[in-house]
């Protein structure tokens, strides 16, 4: 390696670490914007429940259609930031696994799927709020479709968390990239995401889409997981990478 190569690689790695820091913050930002949009504006945390009647649901959309649509627009914009966040996780996982990093790659793919899993039901709710009174029965079923979908697909996020956990627990470096407790927390989060998958089996109670298990545990576990991973990226993984590269500099 010439001195030019070292200087160039240091410059790019400096930029890489700075970019990664920003991308790590994107995780919390996406969560905050999602909640501002879905909760504060749209009032959809949780969405009106499966035990509500046709008239009640149509009334919700007719009375609050504007704020529902606007809040979901904001939520969709926010949730996009899960993309850069996932990528940073993948880069740090690759530092654990080495050159061939199957877990990191799969995690990145699943992170992309997660964003789509937010987009699609959001768009369906927007459509339900668009002209709710023209065909009330259709509005009612469209609300079912969006709400069930929003909660029913936690498998990709669960696997994403499990893959991160496996990478963390398999880390054999003297100074691990991530702290081990994050691996166990990710396993807890993965288990906690899963009850939502069963929400189409109930219209009331804990596994209905607005229930304690399906909605609230899923949301809380998701929030805790984003916060914990972001914290470890910023406090441990990225500085660890910078320290390792500082040793390369002459």
């Amino acid at each position: 390696m010439t001195e030019n190569d070292v200087v160039n690689s240091c410059a790019s790695s400096g930029a890489s670490a700075a970019n990664q820091r920003l991308m790590a913050y994107c995780g919390v930002t996406s969560l905050v914007v999602l909640l501002i949009g879905m909760w504060a504006i749209a009032g959809f945390v949780p969405p009106p429940g499966p035990n509500k009647s046709l008239e009640e649901i149509v009334a919700v959309y007719a009375d609050h259609g504007a704020r529902i649509r606007f809040g979901l627009i904001v939520a969709c914009a926010g949730v996009t930031l899960l993309g850069p966040w996932t990528a940073t996780i993948a880069i740090q996982m690759r530092r654990v696994e080495g050159e061939f990093a199957p877990l990191a790659l799969t995690q990145a793919m699943l992170g992309a799927v997660l964003i789509v899993e937010f987009y699609v039901p959001s768009a369906m709710w927007m459509a339900a709020a668009f002209r709710p009174e023209v065909d009330p029965a259709f509005t009612y079923r469209l609300h079912d479709l969006a709400s069930i979908t929003f909660v029913a697909l936690p498998w990709s996020a669960a696997l994403q968390a499990i893959l991160l956990a496996i990478a963390i627990l398999q880390d054999k470096h003297d100074q691990p990239v991530f702290p081990r407790w994050l691996g166990y927390l990710s396993l807890w989060a993965a288990i906690s995401f899963l009850p939502g998958a069963f929400n189409s089996l109930a219209k009331t109670g804990v596994i209905a889409w607005n229930g304690v298990l399906a909605w609230w545990l899923g949301l809380i576990a998701f929030g805790i997981w984003i916060l914990a991973v972001s914290f470890c990226l910023l406090r441990d993984a990225i500085p660890h990478q910078e320290a390792g590269q500082a040793q390369v500099r002459p």
């Binding site: 702290p179 081990r180 407790w181 994050l182 691996g183 166990y184 927390l185 396993l187 807890w188 288990i191 906690s192 899963l194 009850p195 089996l201 109930a202 219209k203 009331t204 109670g205 804990v206 596994i207 304690v212 298990l213 545990l217």
Partner: protein
């Protein structure tokens, strides 16, 4: 060389207690919600409870207790070099006994469904299926963990990390055991 007597020792490793306490918290919230709903309709809950098969529930409690004991003995064997060769067989034995829980549970669910009882039948049965179902998922995960532990136990010279991993996985299984103790009491017996 590992000390024969463990002093002030974290079972497993500190991180796993994040997972264990996290899971315990979730189940505790569920138990509380269950009792809250029961408070609104105590007669419905008591009446529905009579349809449950308490004998199978009690048997399952004994199954998990026995399975846990075998895993504890395996843990002890892991830490004492002259007895180490028992560890793998004890762990697999624990898994085998634990697998009986799944079979008995399957039979129990079949009995209910054949009698026309489903999660949608009433609130009590929804909680019955959800709580026992969530627990069953943990049993299945735990059985997979035990199988992995049996390969760890098969190592001729386990390192400290191996032992910590074994203890941690064993603690997950014991948690599954004691969660069932609470579920059995709460759903099958208390009214």
């Amino acid at each position: 060389m590992l000390p024969a007597v463990m002093e002030r020792h974290v079972p497993g490793e500190p991180g796993i207690w994040v997972l264990l306490f996290g899971d315990m918290l979730v189940f505790t919230v569920l138990f509380t919600v269950f009792l809250h709903e029961r408070g609104a309709k105590p007669e419905l809950f008591a009446h529905s409870q009579a349809a449950l098969n308490r004998a199978l529930g009690a048997t399952n409690t004994l199954v998990l207790l026995t399975s846990s004991l075998l895993v504890v003995l395996a843990s002890h064997a892991m830490r004492r070099p002259p007895l180490r060769h028992f560890a793998r067989r004890l762990t697999l034995g624990g898994a085998l006994v634990g697998a009986c829980f799944v079979v008995i549970k399957g039979f129990e669910y079949h009995e209910k469904i054949a009698a026309g009882i489903a999660p949608s039948t009433n609130e009590f049965f929804m909680y019955y299926f959800v709580l026992t179902g969530l627990h069953l998922a943990h049993v299945i995960i735990g059985l997979a963990v035990l199988v992995v532990l049996s390969t760890v136990a098969g190592n001729s010279g386990p390192t400290r990390t191996h032992i910590a991993f074994f203890e941690g996985g064993a603690c997950f299984w014991h948690m599954v055991d004691f969660l069932w103790i609470v579920i059995f009491s709460l759903i099958f017996l208390v009214r």
